[in-house]
Subunit: 299 residues, 2 copies
């Protein structure tokens, strides 16, 4: 059975979302506050609603993609009566607190609310290679996960609707650290600029295989963080520090910015100074968190 779905908001992202639903064979109703955005979608088979209320009423599942949470509230408040019993998936970007407020409001209106983030740009919508994260009503997610899978790799992260935007920020942090390390590595290997003997593509093929090992470390260290025990096996922080010195030296020789190597080394040295030289790299989690703030509530 193919579920009918409504998309509110036809900016670049909303249009991409609606297009993916259409492509997956769903009866897709679309609506935009200002007219003229639906034409291409209608030609492909989407139905344009005359009002937000009509659009909401057309499907058991509505996906919202607007510029701000304020815009979402402006659009939904007048049609709250249509929400009871329906699933409302909000993919608008915003801070965690807005997700929780929207969750409370939608719950009062009787909707099953999910707050989501799309971990790609509009051009990546519809590919299973990209994550979409959903937090909130487990009922709504289970009921509509197959439909949402038309957009990408649909992943449920928990009942707290703040989690989707927290994950968003967190995964971007993970991305920037990896990419910035990659940029540094490209400079170190000599791929950038004239006279390099390794191309960035050659280096990156090896680096991408190496990332499998790094993922293995992340999984191993995750269990350590959860248990609070940091056995190092044969790769303790003392050994990390001595190889970090080689990295800093190589960065200087290559004319690469030393900010990043120095940041790792300072963090590692703080942990070693506190007596953790024989622990694994995961022990550093205690030094990334500034003292006095453990367990603070989500922002």
């Amino acid at each position: 059975m193919s579920t009918d779905v409504t998309v509110l908001g036809l900016g670049p992202m909303g249009s991409a979302l609606a297009g993916a639903f259409v492509a997956a064979g769903h009866r897709t109703t679309v609506w935009n506050r200002t007219p003229g955005k639906a034409e291409a979608l209608v030609r492909r088979g989407a139905v344009e609603a005359e009002s937000a209320g009509e659009a909401l009423g057309a499907s058991p599942l509505t996906v919202v993609s607007l510029s701000t949470y304020e815009a979402v509230r402006d659009v939904l408040r007048p049609v709250a009566g249509e929400l009871a019993g329906r699933a409302l998936v909000n993919l608008t970007s915003g801070p965690p607190v807005c997700a929780r407020e929207m969750d409370a409001w939608a719950g009062q209106a009787g909707a099953h609310y999910l707050d989501g983030v799309v971990m790609t740009t509009p051009s990546g919508i519809g590919s299973r290679d990209f994550l979409q994260l959903y937090a909130g009503s487990a009922t709504a997610f289970e009921r509509h996960r197959e439909t949402l899978a038309a957009l990408g790799d649909a992943t449920y992260v928990g009942t707290d609707t703040a989690l989707s935007s927290v994950y968003d920020t967190t995964l971007l942090c993970q991305m920037w650290s990896t990419l910035t390390g990659w940029l540094h590595s490209v400079v170190l290997i000599g791929a950038e600029g004239p006279g390099g003997n390794v191309t960035a593509a050659e280096y990156t093929e090896v680096a991408n295989r190496w990332m499998d090992t790094v993922r293995f470390f992340m999984s191993t260290y995750a269990a350590q963080v959860d248990s609070g025990e940091y056995p190092s096996g044969d790769f303790p922080l003392d050994l990390h520090r001595s190889t970090m010195e080689i990295l800093t030296h190589a960065s200087e020789l290559r004319g690469a910015d030393t900010g990043m190597p120095k940041l790792f080394r300072a963090l590692t040295e703080r942990a070693i100074a506190a007596g953790h030289g024989n622990d694994s790299y995961a022990r550093l989690v205690e030094f990334v968190r500034r003292e006095g703030r453990p367990g603070a509530t989500l922002p």
Copy 2:
């Protein structure tokens, strides 16, 4: 046909290497400067040589794992006459310049020389999940790649023997950036310490899937670095900067160290100030490299 192989040096790494060759069914000759290290290997089927020369003479392929390049020179100089026509694979850690010196010396002795690095600790030897990188004689690598595959994922990176240790440092840089970003993310998501609502294991499962997307970016950006053109599609540096501000703010709220987010942001802002706000993240490579040092020779 199973190639005979010799291992010189039976410290923790050398013993692991010899053990992997024995396990893969190779006739394995072992030797160590100080006696008493070979017993466990001999029980498993290895042959202990009486001297380094006898060990070298026993196999067409010799793998060396000693504490320093100086130790390698001390061991090999007296037996240089045995090297002609044989493959010599040096897995001893050291700076690029030592690899090149050893390459020149081994070449004069008539050996086919490979300088390698093992991207794991002794406990990971024998698993195809871990990379080993080899640089130098393509002939030696092609002839012995199947034998070397007993140690792990054997990868040839180029003829310049300096490359293996440059790759080593570079991939460790990649690892530390990713792991430090991961630690930061674990703190942001609230997994560490008491009161967290997401475990590190839960977060890391999602993060490891996200890393596939990040690898896709790395491959895309590698082609950009090689071409010197940085089209951003729908994710320009201006957009990175605004989301980085959210990350810095979230880090402050969570009590996480802000050194890393500020480092990304400063780098991004330098590129934007230079007029690259509409370019992709890969443009930052020009700002990681300090000015005046493009194309410097390998350290």
